[in-house]
Symmetry: C2
Subunit: 510 residues, 2 copies
């Protein structure tokens, strides 16, 4: 079942001898590019060094395999709608249409057969599951472009994997920090975002004195966006941020948009890494990734809980909204979704303590994307407080919002225009940390959900479960990336997995 | 000047084929040993994996080289007195008596020729220096035993290096966490301590509501003590702690003593990894490592700033003391020193804001080790607030305390019994983060200090500088480990360095 695809020791020498000096594009202002430094680091790495970039050209796809759509991966969860589904033409290679199966172990791969995470005995399962997601494996899912699967891991490496064979094309660890995002792939570059959930002591004290002054990730390792060659993984530039850059950047029209733990939003020239604009919004971006739609960037922040619509050209605030009684980390966890002129965001909310036990709700709200007018507000239901990443990432397809909540471990379907609830499905065996964080994926009449150790196929009209497959490990905030007849998924156990849709959905007509 | 010593790729195959199943000793209570899990991880690692343990037996010392004292390394800074000096007999090999010179690049080695740390452009030098110490390279210095140098790094690896050749014997990364300590080496095992300076968000909120309730490192990766084979680096057992275990354990009489970010002190059976006792003292241990002396363990905590004398057999508090007006992280940063019946600790203290600028003092206090009676208190002087690790580690030799303070970047010599100041020496070019954190080492009539990028030789009677050598990088909280005619030092740039004493002190008679 495993295919390591690492030719390193087998080949007897390091396959990447390229030592040409990179030509970094230096940034000009605070939030920009110490690429000279970053490249010095790469140069300093002995090729036999464990963190040295590894590039195995013979594992890259060729011919028709290298033309499989999509050509680019521009947002977390693939699109502003978060529907990570990409059909392929009938002329695409049979393997991608029929579905392929492999499991690629990343650098700290924990046995998929082990139901318990690494820290289960010391933290207990409830806490150990999110720790495994935040500090061990893949927090979000993977990206796909032209026959290659790209993954970022909290093992501090990023990977390019041949989508057909599951063999490693390159891996790189340009920074000693956690890579918490979904790689963004555009033209010749792959964009990685670095940061962790941590605060240093000065910011613990700052939060005590004035919560709006605390910055996540400040002075905690090296945060920012790393642009590496799509072909080789070689570092091209590094856009450093003071606070964590856990959110996945969004790409649109030559620019990357990113938010940080210091409450900043940035636009960066995607080719050069130079800052285009910066807007200090305040608050803290946790894992909430921007979505770009019709010239506006939608970003959300915690602590001061706001959703912002920013002009993509200038960064100026067009409007801002909030979710009533949003909990501390509520709005900064979840990525807003935008589709059909509507932006939807959810947040855990209305935290109460009853008989010494904390409970919370999850509130979903929709706004007119252009005007910021609130269209509807829905509550998903009260339940016990849940650990880290407390919301569910919404997805929109064909006028319906699909969104989960770990508070109740339910997914619901809501009418995008009215908020009317169409159905509710409870994740089986959700476990003590709660399930239902990842965005569902709609593909050819079926809804696919990855949560806990399993992938589910649901009827999108009724929410009824059709079938499920146990993969093992934990899908943290992972949405199934469906390309042709194959689902690609990263997980918290530090594996990247490929599964045929046929396995998950016996009704699938490939 | 560099000698990588890594035979991995050169040998064409992974030199360690040993895949026998380890026999973990499982612990029995909360603070104990999920070694089965830890060993499962090792088993899961492909030998071609970047984090796979690497063992190169042919690089280990043999014969007389493998008999060079000390045989063990029991405390941070080598001894309860923090004087990391170990003479060798005249019969010891010539190379260790005359001094050896090499620079071993660890996994993220940053060029020694680069004066600026990785994050200089984004954080500024003042902040980037401690970030490099806390998240990049070696925070403390190295350990030495029987011809082998042992190092822990924030690059997440531990290393065993041949002291003569500078070649790698083994490296291991049993956990995806920062290794902030000084390896402890006793009998057949090396003890590593894992943890970071970070807080998660729940503890940021906890600190706001009640500072004494916050825990450092809780739910931040995997904390605790890792025991690995001295010969091969193979993991033997893992004593997990909920909070960070940044302090270096102290070894005495078959037991390890460690304190954590959750305010616990533990005694652990050094052979089996089983908990002997636990005492919840409260507060937070940052980098303050225990010292054992005449059946008592001296440990210090922050936030609730106390020095404790604990009965080594039971963990019960014999007495506790404090430092007046100790700043938040003051007492938990610095390791108490004990010698000649006196225990000495310092802490930054009396923080004031004048004209919008923060200033602080450093207070040194001495107690009767047996009774806890305060013997004397001295103030080292006021200066601007300094970033992380705010004190200086004291060392005692022959009735004199030698201690630095980054607040003034001075080292002072104080009479151990009276506190009378004998001299004061200001570190040249201390830089914006301040210098003088590491403990000095007294050896054959000379005092050696490693701070900033340099190693200094001082006259211990007058504090006058004799000579200095520029190594490069930054010595964070590093004391020179002197064995025979050689000084061994780790640094924040992720290098381990060996230097002949002759180079640092032209007057040295080897």
């Amino acid at each position: 079942m495993s295919s390591t695809g690492i030719g390193y020791a087998a080949s007897g020498s390091h396959p990447d001898k390229d030592s040409t000096t990179p030509k970094p594009t230096l940034g000009t202002s605070q939030g920009t590019t110490p690429s000279a430094a970053a490249n010095k680091q790469e140069a300093a790495l002995d090729p036999n060094n464990p963190y040295a970039r590894l590039y195995i050209p013979q594992n890259a796809p060729t011919g028709a395999d290298a033309q499989i759509p999509p050509d680019a991966w521009t947002h977390a969860y693939g699109k502003p709608s978060h529907n990570a589904a990409f059909p392929v033409p009938a002329s695409a290679p049979a393997w991608i249409r029929n579905g392929v199966k492999w499991n690629f172990p990343e650098a700290r791969a924990w046995p998929l057969s082990d139901n318990e995470p690494y820290g289960a005995k010391i933290y207990g399962i409830r806490e150990a599951l999110p720790v495994q997601t935040q500090f061990y494996g893949n927090a979000l899912g993977v990206a796909f472009a032209k026959g290659v699967v790209y993954a970022e891991s909290d093992d501090m490496f990023a990977y390019a994997i041949n989508a057909q064979t599951g063999k490693l094309i390159w891996r790189t660890s340009p920074v000693g920090n956690y890579l918490m995002g979904n790689p963004v792939v555009v033209k010749k570059l792959v964009y990685l975002s670095a940061g962790s959930v941590s605060f240093n002591f000065a910011n613990v004290v700052a939060f005590k004195n004035d919560p709006s002054k605390a910055a996540r990730g400040l002075d905690i390792s090296y945060n920012g966006v790393y642009a590496v060659s799509r072909k080789t993984g070689k570092l091209k530039w590094y856009f450093a941020t003071r606070g964590e850059a856990m959110p996945t950047p969004a790409y649109d029209n030559g620019k990357l948009f990113i938010t940080t733990g210091t409450g900043n939003a940035y636009a960066i020239d995607a080719e050069t890494g130079k800052q285009v604009w910066k807007n200090h919004l305040g608050g803290i971006a946790n894992m909430s990734s921007p979505a770009v739609y019709k010239g506006h960037v939608f970003v959300a922040m915690s602590v001061k809980p706001y959703l912002y619509s920013l002009d993509a050209k200038t960064g100026k605030v067009a409007w801002k909204g909030t979710i009533p009684k949003a909990a501390n980390t509520g709005m900064g966890d979840v990525s807003p979704v935008v589709s059909d002129g509507v932006v939807v965001q959810d947040a855990v909310s209305d935290v109460r303590t009853t008989n010494g036990k904390g409970t919370m709700n999850t509130t979903v709200r929709a706004w007119n994307a252009k005007t910021g007018k609130v269209l509807w507000t829905d509550k998903m239901g009260r339940g016990p407080k849940v650990p880290a990443f407390k919301g569910g990432v919404p997805m929109v397809h064909d006028g319906v919002v699909y969104v989960g909540s770990p508070v109740t471990s339910d997914y619901v379907a809501l009418n995008l225009k009215t908020g009317k609830q169409l159905w509710r499905w409870n994740v089986p065996n959700a476990g003590p940390a709660g399930a239902a964080r990842g965005a569902p994926t709609y593909y050819k009449g079926t809804l696919y959900v990855s949560t806990g150790p399993s992938v589910y196929a649901l009827d999108p009209k009724t929410g009824k479960e059709i079938h499920s497959v146990h993969v093992g490990g934990r899908f943290g905030i992972v949405s199934p990336a469906i390309i042709g007849g194959t689902v690609f998924l990263g997980n918290s156990w530090d594996w990247v997995n490929a599964l045929p849709l046929h396995d998950i959905n016996p009704n699938y007509k490939g």
